[in-house]
Symmetry: C2
Subunit: 169 residues, 2 copies
DNA sequence: TATTGTTATACTCTATAACTATA
DNA sequence: TATAGTTATAGAGTATAACAATA
């Protein structure tokens, strides 16, 4: 691997394993000084995963965020806009068009809440439940492909745990 | 529902203790069915890292991709558009405006190549080298913060290795 | 013919301000 | 006053088609 530029000295105790992977100088991928950069690697992985997702989900025409909304509303029906947006990690203002699209396709609905007439209780329609069923099969294929690449479910769990350390605070 | 989201008892990846955070059902962060999804976690981590990057790089006004270009041209001067774009993982057509901005700020230059007059040899200016020097210090701070969160450089290397398994193929 | 840089364009994702209707 | 949903808008990031100069 590429020894991130200079400073790599701190904590002399850390055993420096040499890791002799001779990364090939392929087409658009010559070895570059970014290979040891966490953000770069995470972004490249995210792009690769989302592309694979889109590829697998072509027949149900769902993007990652849309699929996530369906899953959330399936697991916890009746949530409000702000709640679902929060779980997705997007602004509530950007959730509107997302929910519009799902409603327009007849996959989800907004019901006026009885307790607070400002908010909406969000639910899947039967058609939404049916499409989610289809989508879950495609998701299994997609996710299992990733798990296989990683080396199994335990490695997957290990990766998720490491990523949580970055996200948590 | 998901079979993949089951079994979650793997031992932590690295030399780091159990960290008994009883994940609070905080503001926009109630426990949700996406927590075991690789793509979701990777995306959340990527967003968090980039936000932290932007925050640290405010005083040099460089976004991740721009900083990456400076680093690449510092390490390997004379590369062509298509080569740098390939290392960044973006289309060459989208690299043009990125390079335009760097050139307009006087940080990098395009020189006509002698061997192939279609292409440009890209170089940093002295001003670009100087700004990169400043930026590298900010980068160290940013990156060291991530490494500390992860639990050390070995854990970082472990994460990079797992992410490579996804990207490689 | 193929490739390099380029323009134009469009679509997605994200971010901010301000409005409305409720509370 | 504050909150939930909404609209409008602007900025990045990414994708495709097509063109001129050069190979």
């Amino acid at each position: 691997m590429a020894k991130t530029t200079a400073a790599r000295k701190s904590k002399a105790a850390a055993p420096r394993q040499e890791h002799t992977t001779e990364t090939p100088d392929a087409l658009g991928a010559r070895s570059n000084p970014l290979d040891g950069v966490i953000g770069y690697k995470v972004r490249r992985a995210q792009v690769a995963i989302f592309q694979d997702f889109i590829h697998h989900f072509k027949e149900v025409d769902l993007r990652p965020a849309e699929f996530s909304v369906l899953r959330i509303l399936h697991e916890t029906p009746g949530l409000k806009h702000a709640e679902v947006a929060g779980m997705l990690g997007i602004k509530r203002t950007n959730f509107v068009s997302l929910m519009d699209a799902l409603e327009k396709r007849g996959l989800a609905t907004r019901r006026k809440s009885g307790t607070d007439r400002r908010s909406h209780a969000l639910h899947l329609t039967p058609k939404g439940e049916a499409l989610l069923g289809e989508a879950m099969k495609l998701f299994e294929t997609h996710e299992n492909g990733l798990i296989r690449k990683l080396g199994g479910e335990e490695v997957r769990d290990q990766l998720l745990e490491l990523l949580s350390r970055i996200t948590e605070e």
